[in-house]
């Protein structure tokens, strides 16, 4: 009897499953539409014939954006900023988090608070801007790498990992063997911390890849722009140079055509910009969810 009830799908299950399906489709649709529209004839997109599937398949939009040099400069800059910035943050965060777990360390509480407070109190936009200016980091690409302190949130998550996954007695064994603090850290703690280092690298890396704010405030030279700032300029400001797109017919039809081509180009830029993350995403997802979970356990 009980077994029977468990297997039966009730009306509740059907309705609930359908609703979840509808929500999932709604969430997926905007990206799906961008893919389809970027691969379709711009006229068909404008006419509403590509709401479900590609019509008039063409790669023209992608061919046009290959010529957008600033996009590729932005790509290159972002890759450099992301790699170096992630390394910088990891080198600062991992040892600090490890040390915060040393219970006998004098002034450990003061150190904790020193970092913790920054989660709630900050100087705000303008004093930070003045500091960057005084440090000669304005319009200096270095600001994208070293222009920030350790994130207290990352520090707490990492400390939580050390505290709950590595038993202190392991370190004691190393001390008894005559290893110093530095040696204990590099030879014992670091290899055991590989999972959290991977999670942190992903957290910080994705954050750096998507970062926009600092570049907007502190960089002026277009050659230094990261991808996100270039995207914003291309996508929002109607800056596309369409002079080499040939049109035919009356001026009005020509204008509509150009507007549609520009729109298709923008869809393809959206795709090109999100492709790295879309490819990496299935691999990253479980690590990320894990990171959120470690962080939510209060330390």
């Amino acid at each position: 009897m009980k077994k029977n009830r468990r297997k039966k799908r009730s009306l509740f299950d059907v309705i609930n499953g359908l609703l979840v399906l509808v929500i999932t489709v709604i969430v997926a649709y905007p990206l799906y539409f961008c893919i389809v529209a970027s691969l379709s004839d711009p006229i068909e997109v404008g006419a509403g014939n590509t709401l479900l599937w590609v019509k008039g398949f063409t790669l023209d939009a992608y061919k046009l954006i290959v010529q957008e040099d600033q996009l590729w400069t932005g790509y290159r800059n972002t890759i450099i900023y992301t790699i170096l910035g992630t390394l910088y943050q990891l080198v600062l965060t991992i040892p600090a988090a490890y040390i915060m777990t040393k219970e006998k360390l004098p002034f450990r509480n003061i150190l904790s608070w020193f970092f913790f407070i920054t989660m709630y109190i900050s100087g705000g936009m303008i004093p930070s801007y003045m500091l960057i200016r005084d440090l000669n980091l304005l319009d200096n690409p270095l600001v994208m790498v070293v222009g920030a302190g350790v994130s207290a949130y990352n520090l707490i998550v990492t400390r939580q990992f050390f505290a709950s996954n590595i038993h202190p007695s392991i370190y004691d064994a190393a001390y008894i063997d005559g290893a110093g603090e530095w040696k204990t850290f590099t030879a014992i703690a670091l290899p055991l911390a590989k999972p959290i280092i991977a999670v942190m690298a992903l957290f910080i890396g994705v954050g750096a890849w998507n970062h926009y704010y600092k570049a907007l405030l502190y960089l002026y030279d277009k050659d230094y722009y990261p991808l996100q700032l270039v995207l914003r300029n291309i996508l929002n400001a109607n800056q596309l140079d369409l002079s080499n797109i040939s049109g035919s017919g009356t001026d009005l039809a020509n204008m509509v055509y150009r507007a549609n081509v520009a729109q298709s180009m923008k869809y393809s830029i959206v795709m090109v910009a999100s492709i790295p993350l879309i490819i990496a995403y299935p691999f990253l997802q479980k690590y990320f969810a894990k990171g959120v979970m470690i962080g939510s356990v209060k330390g």
Partner: protein, 307 residues
């Protein structure tokens, strides 16, 4: 006795001196990039001049705050900021409901697919989310196309982003789109802590599925909901600068001009450092008051708070 304590302190300090060296870079970075700007906030009460520096500039008390309160658009900016947050609150229950719905799914594979898909927008950058929003709402965009298909071609294309009434919804709905799936993680994790025995017992007592949700799952979620709610109240006046800035254009300023974008325009754009810092500080103080109030209310009503 005391000397013994000092002795062990010294011993520990000596013993851990390498550790202090190892944590020094992290401490230095936080000191420079967090604490020095906090020191710089004092220019909100001064007339900052570059030649005199932060310390040497003249004190002027609350002059800049009063100037902001008397600014003709003060109430508009404040209202825009608050209303964006209020609209966000309308959407606050949606991730909770969606998490419960996901949790009720029996087919593990289907559940996993739905989760993977709905988590994905979280990884798309703010710039792209806002750009897509604008692309969909412009004259050639998806919304006009759909309207045209529905009306059979009689719909006249409009640029929705030029309409101040649309902006708050574009802002909040695009935010819901990117965070809906991701914000269910914490709720689903909490729900996995509900003991199955309790659920079985409720069922034996004749509770329907909805009643189990109402009387077993929801009470279990209450502390998590309260915590996230308080945190969101604390963010009420600090609606994210980036998203508003990215969706803003001269035609929708009537609803999109918020405190943080005003600080940016006056501070970075016009280089009025003292005045803009004062506005930012006012913003932070109000936020702290809001969090404390929300915390107190939540403690009284739900018996849970952050402190």
């Amino acid at each position: 006795m005391k000397s013994l304590k000092t002795k062990t302190l010294w011993k520990n300090l000596r013993r851990y001196r390498v550790l202090y060296l190892m944590i020094l870079p992290a401490v230095a970075s936080v000191f420079i990039f967090h604490y020095i700007p906090i020191y710089g906030v004092q220019i909100a009460f001064k007339d900052y001049r570059t030649s005199m520096g932060i310390f040497g500039s003249e004190w002027v008390g609350f002059k800049h705050f009063i100037e902001f309160f008397n600014y003709p658009y003060f109430w508009q900016i404040l209202w825009n900021t608050i209303s964006l947050s209020l609209i966000n609150f309308i959407f606050f229950p949606i991730p909770v409901i969606f998490a419960i719905m996901l949790n009720e799914l029996r087919d593990g594979k289907f559940k996993k697919v739905c989760q993977t898909i709905t988590y994905a927008p979280h990884f798309i950058s703010t710039v792209l989310v806002c750009s897509m929003t604008i692309l969909f709402l412009n004259r050639q965009g998806l919304f006009n196309i759909i309207a045209q298909v529905i009306t059979g071609g009689s719909h006249e294309a409009v640029d929705y982003m030029a309409n101040p009434g649309v902006f708050p919804w574009a802002y909040t709905i695009s935010g819901l789109w990117s965070e809906l799936g991701w914000s269910t993680i914490i709720y689903i994790a909490t729900l996995s802590g509900v003991s199955l025995e309790l659920v079985e017992a409720a069922k034996l007592d004749g509770a329907s599925r909805l009643q189990v949700i109402r009387y077993v799952y929801l009470p279990h979620l209450k502390p998590t909901i309260a915590t996230l709610f308080i945190l969101q109240v604390g963010q009420m006046l600090s609606v994210g600068f980036e998203k508003v800035f990215l969706l803003q254009n001269p035609l929708n300023m009537e609803t999109s001009n918020v405190i943080s974008t005003y600080v940016y325009n006056v501070g970075i754009g016009m280089q009025q450092f003292s005045y803009s810092t004062a506005i930012d500080l006012f913003n932070s103080v109000v936020n702290i008051i809001l969090v404390l109030t929300a915390n107190a209310v939540s403690k009284k009503l739900a018996n849970t708070g952050l402190w």
